[in-house]
């Protein structure tokens, strides 16, 4: 049985649907879950989800469980909050080392759509001491001692066989997972999600949350150009001319 850890992040639903409230599974993580759900049908894999998040992450965790996760570790503690990438990495590392030290593969979405930096996967691989593969476009199969993945960058697309253990950073995303079925969803709703506190994890407060962070936002400024959408009025001709002007630039 190949043990696969998936790092999950929940992000605001309104980032992809203005009317949605609440949190959804980060689309890059959803691609991973869906892919694993497909592969699980024909391979002997066990999928363990790890998520750092508060109560609002529950709905997303239920979906993750329904889709493919055999087990879920929910790192939910105010002490984990406001973590930068280094603190996040250290928290995830502690959890993986404690609960799934024999993981064959750790898979992360390449970045989170709520403005994440895309740094955690590489940082995590360094802390766990396992090989890192970035720009993963697809996962083809899991074998006994290695897996086959597809990496894609600007210049080429490579099919690679990677020996366990390794960490993947995946660059494909999905906003809908077709392997979700309602019977699994109902079961997932009834499941008990164990919440892991900082104390239970056994992590020092200097290693997580704001105190474990190496960067800090000192202030933020609203930028004017994005989001405040300028509406072009006038006749259709005037609108067309405006766009033509923008194109010349």
């Amino acid at each position: 049985m190949i043990k696969i850890v998936v790092c999950l992040k929940m992000v605001p639903g309104k980032l992809i649907n203005a009317e949605a409230g609440g949190l959804i599974i980060n689309p890059y993580d959803l691609f991973v879950l869906e892919k694993l759900a497909e592969l699980k049908k024909s391979s002997d894999i066990s999928v363990i989800g790890i998520c750092m998040g508060g109560e609002s992450a529950r709905d997303g965790l239920i979906r993750s469980k329904a889709l493919v996760c055999d087990d879920i570790y929910w790192l939910n503690d105010i002490k984990f909050a406001q973590a930068d990438t280094i603190a996040t990495t250290k928290t995830l590392t502690a959890a993986i080392k404690k609960y799934i030290p024999d993981a064959d593969a750790v898979i992360c979405g390449g970045h989170a759509i709520d403005g994440e930096t895309g740094q955690v996967p590489a940082e995590l691989s360094e802390k766990l001491g396992i090989t890192y593969f970035s720009s993963v476009a697809d996962i083809e199969s899991f074998g006994n001692d290695s897996a086959v993945i597809v990496r894609r960058d600007e210049r080429q697309e490579m099919t690679v066989r990677c020996r366990y253990p390794f960490l993947l950073s995946v660059d494909s995303f999905l906003t809908y997972a077709s392997n979700l079925n309602v019977i699994a969803l109902k079961r997932a709703q009834k499941w008990e999600y164990k919440i892991i506190s900082a104390e239970e994890l056994g992590i020092a407060s200097t290693d997580c949350g704001a105190s474990g962070s190496k960067t800090k936002v000192i202030n933020s400024v609203n930028i004017i150009y994005k989001k405040e959408s300028i509406e072009i009025g006038g006749s259709i001709k005037e609108k067309a001319d405006h766009v033509k002007k923008l194109l010349q630039q």
Binding site: I16, A18, T117, E126, S229, H242
Partner: protein, 321 residues
């Protein structure tokens, strides 16, 4: 007080490219603000003459390690070796995929602060080095400092800084580093198959500067043709939403959103696209988004920079003039 060490990690392997030049120029500026000195850390395979070009942008010293491979793990070990010996106060990396990985591995190893995709850096007495980045989701620009951190690191966005040759003649010291560790990349993988991605004119989405998107609001062949013609005129790639591809107007490889394909052109114009979830994720990173739709409440207007409420067909008639 010792001069602050400002490092620029050069990743172009065999030459000093303009991205590196941009970083060194900024490092030079910062060195004046912070009483620092600029080290260009160059790993790869370049001649002395090429390395000397770092002086043009203001570097005080080049630390050069000859290396035949461009592998993140190998470079990490080399960089760690140099850092452990001579240290740095601030290290600037480019934000290429390679350097993004390299900087993340480095920051994790030494547990130092790392700020991604900086668009500006300055030095303040009370705060030290302050990094500015734009958070993608919010319309917010954040100012970030490093805390409890031996050194500050960052990746810098391309063209955030300007390549500027300095006026003075700089005396440049080239320090050849002698790394004694292994140069052999980790053999934990095997490439089974490798296919070069063909950069066809007009169908290379990743490098397209201008992209036109066609959605369900483009109701007939005539309008579609006008958009394609305009695309040719402005050298724009024409892509479509899932509906349009399902209807057979465009091939699947030009479907943006559903297939997980995301693009980041300088300019994206959405014609008759309402803005369903998948499509928005695919186009968010575009520098500027113009949306043309006859429904003023279409969700795409939530992320568009320029909003044009108009019937697409009528608009194209004027536009095509």
């Amino acid at each position: 007080m010792d001069k602050r060490k400002i490092w620029v990690v050069c990743d172009a392997f065999d030459h000093v490219d303009s991205f590196t030049g941009q970083l060194i120029s900024k490092a030079y500026q910062l060195s004046k603000e912070s009483n620092g000195s600029v080290q260009a850390v160059f790993i790869g395979n370049a001649s002395d003459d090429e390395l000397k070009r770092c002086a043009l942008y203001g570097a005080d010293e080049v630390v050069y390690q000859q290396c035949e491979t461009k592998d993140e793990k190998v470079w990490l070990d080399i960089l760690s070796d140099i850092y452990s010996s001579i240290g740095a106060d601030i290290i600037m990396f480019t934000n290429t995929d390679f350097s993004k990985t390299l900087s993340s591995l480095f920051a994790s190893r030494f547990e130092v602060g790392l700020t991604a995709d900086c668009i500006d850096i300055c030095f303040e007495e009370e705060n030290g080095f302050v990094f500015e980045r734009a958070a993608m989701s919010d319309s917010v620009q954040a100012r970030i400092i490093c805390i409890n951190s031996q050194c500050c690191t960052c990746t810098v966005k391309k063209n955030a800084f300007v390549e500027t040759e300095i006026n003075a003649q700089k005396e440049l010291n080239i320090r050849k580093w002698e790394y004694t560790g292994s140069f052999i990349a980790d053999p934990a993988y095997e490439i089974i198959n490798s296919v070069k991605r063909v950069c066809e004119n007009n169908t290379d989405l990743d490098n397209a500067k201008i992209v036109f998107g066609v959605g369900r609001g483009v109701k007939d062949g005539e309008t579609f043709d006008m958009i394609c013609q305009a695309g040719k005129k402005y050298n724009a790639v024409v892509v479509g939403t899932k509906c349009v591809v399902d209807d057979g107007l465009l091939p699947k490889k030009l479907q943006v959103g559903q297939s997980g394909c995301s693009i980041a052109p300088d300019l994206y114009i959405a014609f008759g696209i309402s803005g369903a979830n998948q499509h928005l994720v695919g186009i968010r990173n575009s520098r500027q988004i113009i949306a043309v739709n006859n429904n003023e409440n279409a969700p795409i207007f939530n992320i568009a920079d320029v909003k044009i409420v108009a019937d697409v067909k009528e608009f194209m008639k004027e536009f095509a003039e």
